[in-house]
Symmetry: C3
Subunit: 351 residues, 3 copies
């Protein structure tokens, strides 16, 4: 029995709390996008941009949030759900193929005899596990992964090729780390010594702690703490090319988009959204459930639930209004100069 | 006969459609910058910043666009061409040394027996080619390269150290991929499930397709599509540390400079230029031949041939004018307050 | 005698030119943060944010800049110093553990017989040293490090996992290079050939020269010069995810923060500070001791000692004032329209 075994549509609808409109006995063996789905696959429709895809899809069934909004199509099967994208993700998970690789350490992996690799873990050729490091059950270490001394990776993790996890860092369970990501590089800490002169390195003695269910993108860098811990909270998801500096604390369930950067000792709450290319200065706090717009530069604390944009960041609606006015600034300048002249004339005439 | 065999200047001039002024029989065996060139090397002059270098160069000949503009120097040989930098590139290509490595799979490479590596390919130690993957003729895989299951790299490619190309991704021919680049990492897709609560991962089942003659920079990340393909069009060149999100389509012949980021499902036309640190939001289209200025944040469609700048991006000349006015904004604010007072006084006096 | 041998506090105070207030005979065997330090460790206090940590610390002694400002605590030992963070760094260095690994080339490393690896160097499994490359004494090459043909790394360096140093690049002594960093990737140089059409690659024939005592962050990319050298000056420190383009020259003792990007042929002076996410266009000069604020976009030369911010960057205080005025721009626009109406009315009445 593999994960591509077909299941009746009605069973899948039950799984996601949905209601079948059409043929509940239709056998489904996978998921796909509207454009790509075949008659034995389920797709979803959640965004009117994909209206056209919906009209021509060959999918065996489509997850929709409201049947009314999509119209009818003869012979099409629908599943009405509250959140079509979420339902799609859940069904996809059900069908997603498990890697076929059997457990064990492959030839060409370098495992220190004092390391602890669970017998159910998979360690591929070219991976390195140093002295005292631990790898949990069913965790995959791809080629080129480096696990430094006494570093720990929990169970059911996937660590993709060429990831570095430096000494003593702690990674929880069900964590996914994408290629070329670096966990535990030294924080950027120097003290200027005018007598040499030199930028004297402040040793970075702390660690990174990545909690359970985190996902970290490709080429993202998470620096170890100077002392203590840099923390990525439970269930937080980080995109590619993100910089997380030393001693940053990120709460649970936060989303950080590509190329954002968080400076040293900043604190990001739970359920926060940092959009792409955001910059956060050091030592400030971004409150729970706050949202920061793309390319914003956050220089001060952000309150719980607030939405900010711009560089320097201000309240989002304020930013929208003022950004919309910006293209009139040069004209405004000329107009004010003109007004000045006219007011001077009026003043002269009145005297 | 290696690539450093000397050729008469007249032969090189013919190759680039240029005209020799001076000694066409001068033997040339390579190219170099004005500052570094020796008497048996050709250099080029295309930018008045390098005037000084031109005056003191020891080059055996210099490619120039207009002899008049560079003055004469006794004993110096010139080649008049339409585009000096392009002519330089063509001649450099002629002389560029081919790597001396013979074909074959080196010891220490890990090749699955069900992979297909062309006998003319070079696979170095520490490279991994998984089950069903294919490597074309004369392609170089450097150490630490990972080629996932059923991934394909065409002929005459160079894949530098520590590059990851994930399962099923397709790379064309004559493609260059620089170190630590990641092709086919999972797109950043999650659906919030308030019942757990968690950010439920939306499986990323699609692939990346990189067409022929593409070059991709170091530490650049190209995410695989959720379903379908993320596409990098033929002849497009991407710089270092660029983020290309899932389902992005980039047309042919486009240039994307360092640290730019393109969000999910955005479409970039052909012959586009994105300057450094540009951000593009998801689901929009940047038209053919459009140009986007450095650090711009593009939030809406850009028309074919348009030039935009700023964050949020507006028409480039508009942005220039308004940016130039920005340093007077604080003064403007004071002036308007003063005008308000004076107008109020005038109104009172007139009553 | 290892580095954790305890030393009396008075000896450490002498080392950093400080004065003990309290028990100079207290034995100290390490350093740590205020929150983490135990009674046999020294900590430091240099920032009032950490006042609370100071009040509850269990540290055996605390380095302070002025005893008066921290108050007294019974039984607490202080060391008065001029720069507490610098003193901490110096003492930390004294106690920092040397890696326990003995010298030599480990099994699983790939060393060309024509390479020159110092017998005191440490080359770990999965590292590659190609023909003609040289590795200095006491230098560590971690797994996945690639050292290309004729590349040179000096003595006492640490090159972390999965770093690429391409052919002929030169790295000095006491240099630290973090994981996934790429030194010597091809510069982003193309000349458009309308006849094919194609972006014809301009061969990147130069190198990168990294001088002594440099530190380069994780996933940072330093491109090789087109011809000649890209240079990182002595003692300069570069953070993670920074882009340094071809032919850039960075002077000594400069600090470049995370995700900054420097375009081709730009020149950065000595003792400069580029904050996070800064962009610098090509061919300009940033003068010695200049400071550039976070997310700034520098499009023109910056004078020695100047401080600039904003995109496009202007003098810092100018930027502060005008940024503070920005949130009133929309209101200003409305006010000026209103003033216009009132001035028109006044003019009509006066006629």
């Amino acid at each position: 029995l593999n994960n591509r075994s077909a299941r009746p549509l009605s069973e899948l609808a039950l799984l996601v709390g949905g209601e079948v409109v059409g043929d509940g006995s239709r056998l489904i063996s996978g998921v796909n996008g509207l454009a790509e789905a075949s008659p034995n696959e389920v797709s979803f429709y959640a965004n009117s941009r994909y209206r056209k895809g919906l009209e021509v899809t060959r999918a065996g069934a489509v997850l929709v949030e409201s049947e009314a909004s999509v119209g009818r199509r003869d012979g099409m099967n629908w599943v009405r759900v509250k959140n079509a994208r979420l339902a799609f993700a859940k069904i996809a998970k059900l069908f997603s193929p498990k890697p076929a690789l059997g457990p064990g350490i492959r030839p060409g992996a370098t495992i220190d005899p004092r390391a602890g690799v669970d017998p159910e873990a998979v360690v591929m050729s070219g991976a390195t596990v140093q002295r005292g490091a631990k790898v949990g059950a069913r965790t995959y270490l791809f080629p080129g992964v480096f696990l430094g001394e006494e570093a720990v990776v929990g169970a059911d993790c996937v660590v993709y090729p060429n990831v570095t996890i430096r000494e003593r860092c702690l990674v929880g369970s069900r964590v996914i780390i994408h290629s070329s990501c670096v966990i535990g590089s030294d924080g950027f800490g120097f003290a200027f010594d005018p007598e040499v002169p030199e930028h004297c390195k402040v040793p970075q003695m702390g660690i990174v702690r990545v909690e359970d269910d985190v996902e970290i993108g490709a080429c993202t860098c998470v620096d170890r703490a100077t002392t203590g811990e840099t923390v990525i909270g439970r269930g937080t998801k980080i995109d590619n090319l993100v910089q997380v500096a030393h001693n940053v604390k990120i709460g649970p369930m936060t989303l950080i988009c590509g190329q954002a950067g968080i400076s040293g000792s900043a604190e990001i709450g739970s359920g926060v959204l940092l959009a792409g290319q955001v910059g956060v200065v050091g030592h400030i706090r971004i409150g729970d459930l706050a949202r920061v717009g793309a390319q914003a530069g956050v220089a001060h604390d952000v309150e719980d639930g607030a939405t900010v944009s711009g560089s320097p960041a201000i309240e989002h609606r304020q930013w929208l209004k003022n950004s919309a006015a910006f293209p009139q600034l040069a004209t405004l300048l000329r107009e004010v100069r003109q007004l000045r002249k006219e007011v001077e004339r009026l003043k002269r005439q009145q005297r």
